[in-house]
Subunit: 604 residues, 2 copies
């Protein structure tokens, strides 16, 4: 006889059980942010994998609004649905239970085993309802911290969470800086924007307006199912992107091919929302929905600490912030605010805006890229990066604009390496897959950070254990604080920029020195070719054609000299080079050099 | 004593009155789309301005979901709020009541004077409630048509409407092609997407779930105010952009500077939504909300006619479609689908994606640019464009990328004009403010269309009465059907493109001939300058510097020859030119020409 278990992928964590522990027994109750005390607090949690002897392989996962402690595996043999992040947690998966001890607990205020408004109020013996004190993200994290201590763990290898789970991640690194080695806040924010608060308010209004809500004391009756369902429907719309919804439903009708001319649900998207609403009220408590959305609305790291910069002052964790391109609920811009504030404090931060069509829900729907990014970030945090760099530059064939630099022999890398003082802080703009940065870290003990936009290149940087920022050079360098680096490198990228003057101004704001390498476009061979053929030159150093070259700026060594002079930029070194020859050119460099490296700084 | 009237701007239409007419008296009742018949139908409407003797100056405005017949002016002296589009309708305004006879009627199914579900059912003597037949956009427009006939008007100068009003505009030009000279659908769509249907469904659910809804027979009781308010709240969120909401409210608290730790509305955005909800239930009927949103959901021009292209087959109106950059409810992409389908039918169409931070609400909040665009489109429809072109090219100083072409003497214009056969269809890519196109229309009787992205340039084209499309040359030319033009002109723009090869392929798909002009980058003066100075040349023809030139492609006459050869492009004419000299260069053109014009086509 076949059971449901036979249809399951063989690679999961298998059967798991939710465990329960009681913490904060009075008089050691928890002092909540709102001023009340709460205790005892029951906490439901699950764990996967094995805590190692050093107790340094624990990964805490923080769940979102409607999640629970059940992250992976199945509760019994007839269970059809695995835990909510089963795609990410298991043997060999992104969060590899062969390596890590994974923990997830239901949040304070929840309704899935942890104390919340549907728990019994010990004073009355009835469910708390609206008498439950208002809880905050801070309170939730304090409870998690106590749970971790209870499990005998002083320091987490990582805290990971998406959406509201990401808010908890931020609270962890701020509140317990010494207790977290790495943090991965995904598709989250340090404070909701007005639009998100508005959506939450609509959901709460729908619950509060339901006459069956009975001021929160609905436990004897049927409960405010219609109100809660409406709240969930609103939520679901915000979790999907418009494009994702269009691809999934379009204007398809559920049953007929003609309109029914009444007010029943007839479009597929309507019946989908109905179903989501109905399914949700089966498993979720309306009071918890009120409390948890309120906790999200209230969370504001910036207001609490004066500013987001100040909030992150004492962070010790390596942070990897992720956002999704089509997420309009927790936008990439909101993740970038987190990144900017961490950078302002000189913290170790990596950022990737993952390309996805799935909107906010992408954190549940993009296992491949998330698994690759999270897995390699955890690996390098544990001191075993996926790519142990040996310095060999492999040709790289994906993104065309990267090719420019990479398919060619990089004569400038050796020279740039020599120009960098050992132990310096180095920012590499357009770092590609991180080859130069790896060399500088290995050979010059540099503290390095890369900036890149191509997703695959970013993934490879993360696999190398390099911090990297998914930022657009021409528009987003304002993320980086002034005077935060010794050297800012722009290697063979200047000529591809729309606004090279702006980028150079930015690099000299960020770094003490700028190191710029670019092709010299008025090489003597080029001139001869132009006169003879009447065409724009195509050379070994500049192998592209006029219509497809990524090099949209033609400049020469003397052009750059003049630019520096006119813009109050000091030129410290000027190194004309020929491909395949290490020594700089001394005679007629303007005509003979194929490329050049400049070391520059702002004039005092 | 001062009255409210003293505070009003002096420029409005003043005191106005809503009028009422009864149409479709049985047995001549209206056959609705749903299969039922309805009649008599009472219609509430207002008019402003005077119908001229020729009866050809009537402009019909179609209102959106929550609008009514009261577009402009005040109903009495104590009236504090003018009509809903007072900023646009009045003497000297965008829709100038000194010139036009403006009409607006409350839609069928509404609750502001026109027959709808809150009207009395003649059979029962009670309000219709849910017994009212389901109505559609088509039904609404049929009623408007009858009203127009009643007013003695055969043909409207224009039909204008935003949002759901825009749907009515589309229905007008499809259903009554001979009755509309010009149509301005603003921020609208020919069919709602899944996300919009989902939001509508949530709103309806909130009303239907309100126990006071009483199956629509709530007129004796208090009515489903909470449900209707929630529906309105959801709507309001979708009308604003996230950025607009952030700027308006941020995370500001309404009264206190500390959280109240309860479930009252405390963020300003919450109290704003509360207010919007409360104000709405004062003036709107819940049943109407159900019927009107359902009419929007049902509207699908494409499904009804087989495709949007087929729907627009018989359109005669000049169409001006507008969208707003930050509108995520009725997106620019949806407007472009309308534009594409009109173009596929060779219709006269202008499109502008107006830059605005206000989201969907922008159509009520951008009086200046809308007034300019609508006003000049109406003027040219009446045969009196705002700019009567005399052919003088004035220097133009705003958008830098446009400057390239325009601040220079345009030697190529005269030549291009000579190359165009009289009476041809001409598409001008990067048409700027329409100078060349105007000349071609005036001097060569061309049928012209421009493509441009700079808003101010687009406005000026509309002022010249030119059709123009707000499209990105490099990514959006797919809007234009194959073989739809005799000539496609790309004048002094090729060298500014990131993907010139793609654009050339597109132009030869769209037109029989392509006319391309570009600077010849290997001019002898340039070569001498390069050798002598070692710098990228700066000449009279190419006055920019390497870092700020919009010319990101360097090509020569021979480069372009080779490109054509390799890409199976036939070169019909090759005209090397020197600035300030009309005759083409015959000796050493490759080195002596400053620019060149090519006439090309796809090889058969």
């Amino acid at each position: 006889m076949k059971t449901d278990a036979d249809n399951r992928p063989p690679d999961g964590v298998g059967l798991v059980e939710t465990q329960t522990v009681t913490l904060f027994e009075p008089p050691a109750s928890l002092a909540l942010e709102c001023g009340h005390r709460l205790g005892p607090i029951q906490v439901a949690y699950e764990t996967y994998g094995v805590l190692n002897a050093a107790r340094d392989n624990a990964v805490l996962i923080c769940h979102a609004l409607s999640g629970d402690a059940h992250v992976a595996g199945y509760h019994d043999e007839h269970d059809r649905k695995p835990g909510w992040w089963d795609i990410m947690v298991g043997p060999g998966k992104g969060i590899d239970t062969n390596k890590y001890f994974v923990i997830c607990s239901n949040i304070l205020g929840g309704c899935r085993g942890t104390t919340g408004p549907s728990s019994l109020n010990p004073e009355t013996g009835k469910p708390w309802g609206l008498d439950f004190p208002v809880i905050t993200i801070e309170d939730m994290v304090k409870v998690q911290k106590r749970l971790i201590e209870h499990l005998g763990i002083d320091r987490l290898l990582a805290v990971i969470g998406g959406s509201m789970g990401g808010m908890q991640v931020l609270e962890w690194i701020v509140r317990y800086p010494e207790a977290v080695a790495a943090a991965i806040p995904i598709a989250t924010t340090a404070r909701l924007n007005a639009q998100s608060i508005a959506f939450d308010a609509v959901g709460r209004n729908a619950i509060l307006a339901d006459p069956r809500f009975e001021h929160g004391q609905y436990h004897a009756g049927p409960g405010p199912d219609r109100g809660l369902a409406i709240a969930r429907m609103v939520g679901h719309i915000t979790y999907l992107s418009e494009q994702g919804m269009h691809e999934k439903f379009g204007r398809e009708l559920r049953r007929a091919d003609k309109y029914s001319y009444d007010f029943g649900s007839e479009f597929s998207v309507e019946t989908y929302l109905d179903h989501q609403g109905r399914a949700f009220v089966e498993r979720f408590d309306a009071n918890s929905y009120l409390y948890i959305t309120k906790a999200m609305d209230y969370y504001d790291l910036a207001a609490r600490h004066g500013s987001l910069e100040k909030a992150f002052q004492h962070v010790q964790a390596r942070v990897f912030a992720m956002s999704f391109s089509s997420d309009w609920l927790f936008t990439p811009q909101q993740s970038r605010q987190i990144v900017d504030a961490l950078l302002a404090n000189g913290k170790h931060v990596t950022y990737s805006e993952v390309n996805s069509r799935y909107g906010h829900d992408a954190f549940l729907l993009e296992p491949e890229v998330l698994g690759r990014l999270i897995g390699s970030f955890l690996a390098s945090t544990s001191g075993r990066p996926v790519i142990e760099d040996n310095g060999n530059v492999q040709p790289y064939s994906e993104a065309p604009a990267i090719q420019t630099a990479w398919t060619r022999q990089r004569v400038d890398y050796d020279r740039i390496e020599q120009l960098i003082e050992p132990g310096s802080r180095v920012l590499d703009l357009g770092c590609g897959r991180g080859v130069l940065l790896s060399r500088l870290i290995r050979n010059r003990r540099a503290q390095g950070l890369g900036v890149e936009v191509f997703q695959d290149a970013i993934c490879e940087c993360v696999e190398r254990g390099l911090p990297v920022l998914d930022l657009d050079l021409e528009n987003e360098l304002s993320s980086l604080p002034s005077r935060s680096y010794d050297y800012v490198v722009l290697s063979q990228t200047l000529q591809t920029l729309r606004r090279p003057d702006v980028v150079i101004r930015e690099m000299l704001r960020i770094g003490r020195f700028g190191i710029v390498s670019f092709p010299n476009f008025v090489h003597w061979k080029s001139i001869v070719q132009m006169i003879v053929t009447g065409r724009t030159p195509v050379t070994e150093a500049l192998p592209f054609r006029w219509y497809n070259t990524p090099n949209v700026r033609c400049l020469t060594i003397r052009d750059f000299d003049r630019f520096c002079r006119e813009n109050h930029i000091r030129v410290h070194r000027r190194i004309p080079l020929i491909v395949g020859r290490r020594a700089p050119i001394r005679i007629l460099p303007g005509l003979r050099a194929e490329e050049a490296i400049f070391v520059i700084s702002r004039q005092a």
